[in-house]
């Protein structure tokens, strides 16, 4: 278990940068679960702005009266709202060149459930269109979650959602009607349009058809890895070396305190697939900065570095630059 991957990366020539937008746009609330993708020589970054503050007393020393992990909402409004800020960062990765809150107003409907907005969106670029793809849970009264694909249009440095597609699970004719309650963290495969790694063990790959609006399972691994943890979706799946693809997954541990209160840790592993979607290998487990809740929605290769965007405690976003040489040595596959 590597407690501080960021430190290793920095010591090996990497760097870390905070990803922030002006707090006047967010009211100081969290910017987390960020994604990154190079598109036409620009580095696009999406930040999830949550209208709660995650309280995680990691050592359970100064817990909230309700427990060590609490989503702190306004006391008169318990909706878990998400907004997204999309922008382009500068070449030295130190700041945004420009950004805007993604304008979803034309497609928004009155939310039917407590979780509102597109959560944990990954940036995709397929068919020369820019998408944010994440989970939305506000379309039914019981919070059914399905991945969505929001096409984003950029105009004069501002971003607007111009179409929204709700992805059914394979075999589901109409989204939200199948047996699965909540589908999330599908990992978009950046070089295969509309394709996602839906699950990692066994590997399940699905492809959405924007014409038929159906999702097809295109691969299901026959062998399940004999491991005592789950690979849960994280970053996009990106090409790795000549013959592989790689993604960053999270590994959760959900448990309760002695007094029965919910607690959790999120750790990470890189997972490497061959071109046939077999799991070629996976890395050691690690945390980025020792936070017990860290979550990544973005990874890309850019000018000799792997750029990883991750959320820290659901409240903060960082961009970690990991030099290729060190990255490869860490992956060890």
């Amino acid at each position: 278990m590597i407690e501080n991957f960021a430190k290793l990366a920095i010591e090996n020539g990497g760097d870390i940068t905070p990803l922030v937008v002006d707090s006047k746009h967010t009211g100081g609330l969290g910017l987390t679960n960020c994604s990154i993708l190079p598109i036409n020589d620009k580095l696009y970054v999406n930040l999830r702005n949550v209208e709660y503050t995650l309280l995680h007393a990691e050592k359970v020393k100064y817990a909230h009266p309700w427990g060590p992990v609490v989503y702190v909402h306004p006391e008169d409004d318990w909706k878990l709202r998400t907004n997204n800020f999309l922008g382009v960062i500068n070449e030295d990765l130190s700041d945004f060149n420009y950004y805007s809150k993604v304008d979803t107003s034309e497609l928004d409907k009155d939310p039917l459930w407590e979780f509102v907005g597109l959560e944990d969106a990954r940036i995709c670029h397929w068919d020369n269109k820019v998408f944010l793809s994440g989970v939305r849970r506000d379309t039914t009264t019981n919070g059914v979650g399905r991945m969505e694909l929001s096409e984003i249009e950029e105009e004069n440095g501002s971003f607007k959602e111009i179409s929204r597609q709700r992805l059914p699970i394979p075999g589901e004719a109409v989204p939200d009607t199948g047996k699965s309650y909540c589908e999330k963290n599908w990992m978009p495969v950046v070089d295969l349009p509309y394709t996602y790694v839906k699950w990692c063990n066994p590997v399940e790959v699905v492809k959405y058809n924007p014409e038929t609006k159906l999702t097809e399972q295109i691969y299901l691994g026959k062998n399940k890895l004999d491991i005592d943890f789950d690979f849960r979706g994280g970053s996009q799946v990106i090409p790795y070396k000549e013959d592989y693809r790689i993604a960053l997954c999270h590994v959760t541990s959900l448990f309760k305190t002695e007094t029965g209160r919910k607690n959790c840790t999120y750790r990470h592993r890189f997972i490497v697939f061959d071109k046939d979607w077999n799991v070629h290998g996976y890395s050691k487990e690690f945390n980025f900065l020792g936070g017990h809740v860290e979550f990544s929605c973005g990874m890309c290769f850019h000018e000799g570095n792997y750029l990883i965007t991750f959320g820290f405690q659901d409240n903060t976003s960082f961009l970690l630059r990991v030099p290729e040489t060190f990255f490869d040595s860490f992956i060890e596959v």
Partner: protein, 417 residues
């Protein structure tokens, strides 16, 4: 991103388990308004801090993050309670909790926090590294005066305001608090009864210590604290005396000259409130000039309205203390002599603590003798001195009432049990 932020982040990234690294990063986020990010690192700092003071400060600041986010008071308060538990003798968490409650108009709860702090805290403890809203013990005390007021503990409010305005304490308040305290005192007064009247009525005659001719005929007086009775005693119940009244006020309520008028005295007053001036015109015989007492040529007025340079009574009563003193030094004492002077120095709300002594030195320099010093309605709120000119007042009378040692409770001075 500025260099400091970057440096702090790099330091944190290299050792995110270090409490101070968490605090520093939290502070950087906090100063930029990113309260959610700041909160995470403050909490991490608190949970990793070896020193209680650092954990305490982090928890207070964590609480403040939620306060800034608004509508998260329950959580915000929870972290202040953690802080209180760590260092129950530090005042900041009590103060911030009190302010929380005040903002929600939960005055009783706020009052409890302020009271506990004042009772149990060590106010000499080492200051925190950063400012978190708490200014001083005196500021906390002032907040308590407000919660007391809204919890109908008005006596306590006044006592606190009195304490805060005392020499040695007053200087510890910053300018903003000094003004606030002064405004509060001006608004509610320092006396339990805002009228603060100690009245004389006919039934009190038997207990009147200082009797004078025809005192038994007085049904009631009008002065606030026996000024009219004092003037008549010193002038031995004089009929057809003369007075000059600066700051006349209402025609009857609290007037020092209504009773004198009933004893046949002539005189004039000066008043800047047109309502009072009109009231005088309709209800009183003697003249009141409508004018600003600070801008008058007193020699000219006295020359115009009096045919003698010896006037029986001078009242000086405009607020605040500095204005009354300005009037005093505008009186042509070289030319005019006054038998009795009641001078309102308002020492209890004169935060310069200077005008009482200045006025005393000034009047003494003109040969006046202090007869009753530091007159108050309650034995605490000294606001007036009573003087005579020994050339015009009988020595035996002066000596009979002379009382210049400590603040005078006027009722105890003037009436027997």
């Amino acid at each position: 991103m500025d260099k400091k932020f970057k440096d702090v982040l790099l330091k944190f990234a290299k050792d995110p388990e270090d409490a101070m690294n968490n605090f520093d990063l939290a502070y950087e986020y906090h100063t930029r308004g990113h309260t959610a990010s700041a909160f995470s690192n403050y909490l991490r700092c608190a949970e990793r801090a070896k020193e209680d003071e650092l954990a305490y400060e982090s928890l207070c600041r964590a609480s403040y993050c939620f306060t800034s986010q608004k509508r998260r008071e329950f959580t915000s308060k929870a972290f202040l309670k953690h802080a209180q538990i760590i260092l129950p003798k530090r005042p900041e968490a009590y103060y911030l909790l009190g302010v929380h409650h005040m903002n929600r108009k939960e005055y009783a709860e706020a009052h409890v926090q302020f009271t506990l702090a004042l009772e149990f805290c060590d106010f000499d403890c080492k200051p925190l590294m950063t400012f978190i809203g708490y200014k001083s013990k005196e500021h906390l005390l002032y907040q308590k005066s407000k919660t007391a007021w809204f919890w109908d503990k008005n006596h306590e409010t006044r006592q606190i305001l009195r304490d805060l305005s005392a020499p040695g304490v007053w200087e510890k308040l910053d300018e903003e608090d000094q003004k606030a305290v002064q405004d509060d005192i001006n608004r509610i007064g320092l006396l339990v009864d805002s009228d603060a009247f100690v009245k004389y009525e006919e039934k009190d005659f038997v207990n009147l210590k200082y009797k004078f001719p025809d005192a038994e005929k007085i049904k009631e007086n009008r002065s606030q604290v026996f000024q009219d009775m004092f003037v008549l005693y010193m002038t031995e119940g004089k009929k057809k005396g003369t007075y000059f009244e600066i700051g006349s006020g209402p025609s009857h309520f609290g007037s020092n000259t209504v009773l004198l008028e009933e004893f046949g005295w002539k005189g004039i007053g000066v008043e800047s409130n047109p309502i009072y001036v009109n009231e005088h015109k309709s209800r009183r015989k003697n003249l009141v000039l409508f004018d600003d007492a600070l801008k008058l040529n007193y020699e000219k007025i006295l020359d115009t309205h009096f045919d003698t340079t010896e006037i029986d009574y001078l009242q000086l009563d405009i607020e605040p203390a500095i204005n009354t003193f300005q009037c005093l030094i505008s009186i042509p004492f070289e030319k005019y002599k006054f038998g009795v002077i009641t001078y309102e120095h308002d020492d209890y709300i004169d935060f310069t603590r200077s005008f009482k002594n200045k006025s005393r030195r000034y009047l003494k320099s003109y040969g006046y003798e202090l007869v009753v010093a530091d007159v108050s309605p309650d034995g605490k709120s000294s606001y007036e001195d009573w003087w005579v000119h020994p050339d015009l007042i009988n020595r035996e009378v002066i000596e009979s009432i002379k009382s210049t040692d400590g603040t005078i409770n006027i009722k105890q001075l003037m009436l027997s049990e």
